[in-house]
Point group: C2
Chain length 131, copies 2
């Protein structure tokens, strides 16, 4: 069982940066963060320390300047969060969520094609399972 992951708003911002950039120092993360947000360096540091305590991050402390890395995968986290949202906001109906997402977000043609292709793939699997 993969541990319960429940990042807060701020933690998610940091995870996104780490997922995108790979292992990084606090300073790197902080610089990224500072581009969209106002915050002191020690604030970022503290957050990342807390995240390390919570096992959201791994830390390489072999050099003075520590290097942090996400300890939870983006996939896993997305899955967990979407499941929770389906349960708590969409009465357990994935399709309701999907339609709401498509309706309220204006997906591009490419995105729609991607989804269609994905659905076809599922279809096949379902049929196979039934036969």
């Amino acid at each position: 069982m993969t541990s319960k992951v429940k990042p807060t708003e701020s933690e998610l911002e940091i995870l996104n940066i780490l997922w995108h950039n790979g292992p990084s120092t606090v300073r790197k993360v902080h610089e990224e963060l500072a581009m969209t947000k106002e915050a002191g360096y020690t604030t970022t540091l503290k957050l990342m320390q807390i995240m390390h305590d919570k096992k959201l991050l791994k830390r390489d402390a072999s050099s003075k300047t520590h290097v942090f890395e996400a300890a939870v995968s983006q996939q896993q986290t997305q899955g967990q969060m979407i499941r929770k949202m389906i349960d708590t906001v969409f009465n357990g109906s994935a399709s309701q969520l999907v339609m709401q997402a498509l309706g309220s977000h204006k997906a591009s043609k490419e995105e729609l094609d991607e989804i269609r292709a994905y659905l076809e793939g599922m279809e096949k699997k379902t049929k196979k399972a039934k036969s």
Copy 2:
């Protein structure tokens, strides 16, 4: 412009009950809530009062026992929350969210059909707009 809606975890539980049951007294809501959760009556009351202050609920105080009703629609709230999740968790990609939702949740055949139908509907609209 519809006001910013950002219900907390607990507030969402209450909204769900009200969306499902329609206008209700605090006691009714509390009884529902108590089925899945441990909490005192005054806790529920206080939450609903706060939600009223925040304009998340409407209140009919004409009788001694007040009757509350959701002041925000389920649709609107779902849309707002899904948009936020797309932005903060899925890098702005609706299709990524949709696929994650379908992949991690095991939608039924009926649900998949619903989604397919919905996609076809969108397709038509897109074509029309282009012609």
